[in-house]
Symmetry: C2
Subunit: 365 residues, 2 copies
């Protein structure tokens, strides 16, 4: 598997702020992306010509090892208490006239504390690391692809008919771990029948998967920090004409969406590609959520693909395409793939079949 | 199981702010505690004589049902976009001269947005709901006790010797679900041997549990939103004299801590009770973390029990008592119970045995 290209990331972020300024990174996912550090407590200072990670006593050795492994040329400083950590940060930034901070992550309380402690002027900045994090490198794409492969394999093996939602969830999650996942990518959704499958974010229950149901399975794996995300819908035994019709509509919308993914398309345009197919078939009201979202160190990250999205897809974006329809009494249907935007469109990372949603009958006994 | 006493909680919080003021609650755990609402997006306004929950289109019906079930007499308003939600909040608070907000939860960006949108003066407040959340009611204690019971049962059934850390983790988590848990309370820790058990927050690996190891298992269940937390240490077959000596020290420290739990003791005093036993035995440097923390809707919440803690325990606090010692090359030992502070000291909610840490030899074949 190709290595993560961590060493150059601080420089990518530096290109986005004035050279005279530095950035205080407080979001732990951003810190992980910039340095390889995976501890649960840390602050990162990105200076024009230096990088400083400040953490507590639990993580000093780990941080030093992880930065070295990632090839990040920086210093690790340890504070034995919250106050010591803040004092260490204050001493480091004291020579600076101004310091950027992540306005979407620093709490008001943290801001007040820094503002009282630092002589330096604090400047709110928005989404600076997140913007760079969108462009996945080969190592990141390989990890996401491996997470997809694991979820594909687990889904291909699990039996659905005559089992409860919760049991199917458990078997998927166990199998993903056996196949090398660190765990599920998010709370696995198994939603069956006219009530549960009508809820896009249903939590698995003791409800049995029975003949006549549509069954939505939304499952992903976590692999070395990176997530996968995929949904398939199945029909338990004989599907009704309405179920089959709606499946065709959703699948057509989803395939149209995947076909439309390319660098330069706006997230609102991509949403419209899927939504228009469903609306033209008369089911627009049943499609009650956005078309997709970015996936990486977070299961939901930029770019979000919905009606009001104003970002343009770019090479290296990894996004879901997941239209769905839901109606209580009918149930629900969703089909979702994870794709990476390439120079020539996109590459689909999830491989579970989506052309034969009808579950096979159990063998006659 | 006794019901959660949700209906009176907003009034408990109101007693903590001026009657002329209202409070904007943004933390979802606090919103759940105050109203029963479990959605992933919402803002709560607690007025002197009214309660308003603002959420998005996914959660309108759910919120109405959950508030009604909890007996909370409030209004649910739905905004179809982030902008609509903010406008709705602005309209609701417009008549107020000032509005408290949760400084530890609102981000700087959210604060700036509200500050630009509202005529009302925003006043930072700290830990107001959290302070009330400490005092668990009978329904909350029953749910935490049930989560403890589930983890106890799972731990009693799992086989350790000759299995990998990851497999033990998987079996514990599956068994907890079968026993009624919604999932694990946190990432289950199974840490074996001289390297892994020396790391307090070790993540299970493919390392086999073998003769000579100390094995730390830190496991809890999630039940109806409430967490449990427990640690036991085992010796794989023959324990060394040093392992046995250190186990006795840690167990003595932990039992002294549990015996000292009562309303009125400060968190620093309780930490010292455990720490002194280990320090007097000559292993103070090996006890590298705090003695415990509160548990409830969060796995880690107030009151935190450590050297610098300045809170006093009170009736209704549910806290862990979990001293431990760690040294690379030796491994680690930790013993942890979850207790609820009562009028007469405390009641221990976890019941797994801690007096016979040596695993039985496998049957001769």
């Amino acid at each position: 598997m190709p290595p993560l290209e961590i060493a150059g990331r601080c420089e990518r972020v530096r290109q986005r702020f004035e050279q005279s300024q530095a950035l205080l990174v407080s979001d732990l996912n951003n810190i992980r992306w910039l340095t390889g550090f995976t501890g649960s407590n840390g602050w990162l200072l990105v200076f024009p010509d230096d990088v400083v990670l400040v953490t507590d006593g639990r993580y000093g050795d780990q941080a030093t090892a992880q930065l070295a492994k990632a090839g990040v040329d920086g210093r690790v400083l340890v504070g034995r208490s919250s106050a010591a950590i803040f004092d260490t940060l204050a001493a480091e930034v004291a020579p600076l006239p101004s310091l950027g901070f992540e306005a979407a992550h620093l709490t008001y309380e943290q801001f007040q504390r820094f503002d009282g402690l630092f002589e330096t002027t604090l400047v709110p900045v928005g989404g600076l690391v997140e913007t760079e994090r969108r462009r996945k490198d080969a190592g990141e794409i390989a990890r996401i692809a491996e997470a997809c492969r694991i979820a594909d394999a687990a889904l291909s093996e699990v039996q659905l008919l005559g089992r409860t939602e919760a049991r199917v969830r458990d078997e998927l999650e166990i199998r993903m771990r056996e196949l090398g996942a660190d765990g599920p990518s998010y709370e696995t959704i198994v939603a069956t029948g006219p009530i549960n499958a009508a809820r896009p974010h249903h939590r698995p229950t003791g409800t049995m998967i029975e003949a006549g149901h549509t069954v939505i399975i939304d499952v992903g794996a976590l692999y070395d920090g990176y997530h996968s995300d995929m949904t398939r819908t199945f029909f338990a035994l004989d599907a009704t004409p309405q179920q089959l019709e709606l499946y065709d509509v959703v699948l057509a919308a989803q395939c149209a969406g995947v076909a439309a993914v390319e660098a330069g398309i706006s997230t609102a345009e991509l949403d419209a590609v899927c939504r228009d197919v469903i609306t033209e078939a008369g089911y627009g009201e049943w499609f009650s959520h956005g078309t997709g979202h970015g996936v990486g160190l977070l299961i939901h990250e930029d770019p979000f693909i919905n009606r009001t999205g104003d970002l343009k897809l770019q090479v290296g974006d990894v996004v879901t395409v997941e239209p769905g329809v839901y109606r209580e009494g009918f149930g629900g249907i969703r089909v979702e793939d994870l794709v990476v935007v390439t120079e020539n469109g996109c590459r689909v990372l999830t491989a579970s079949p989506k052309d034969s949603p009808c579950l096979p009958s159990p063998p006659m006994t």
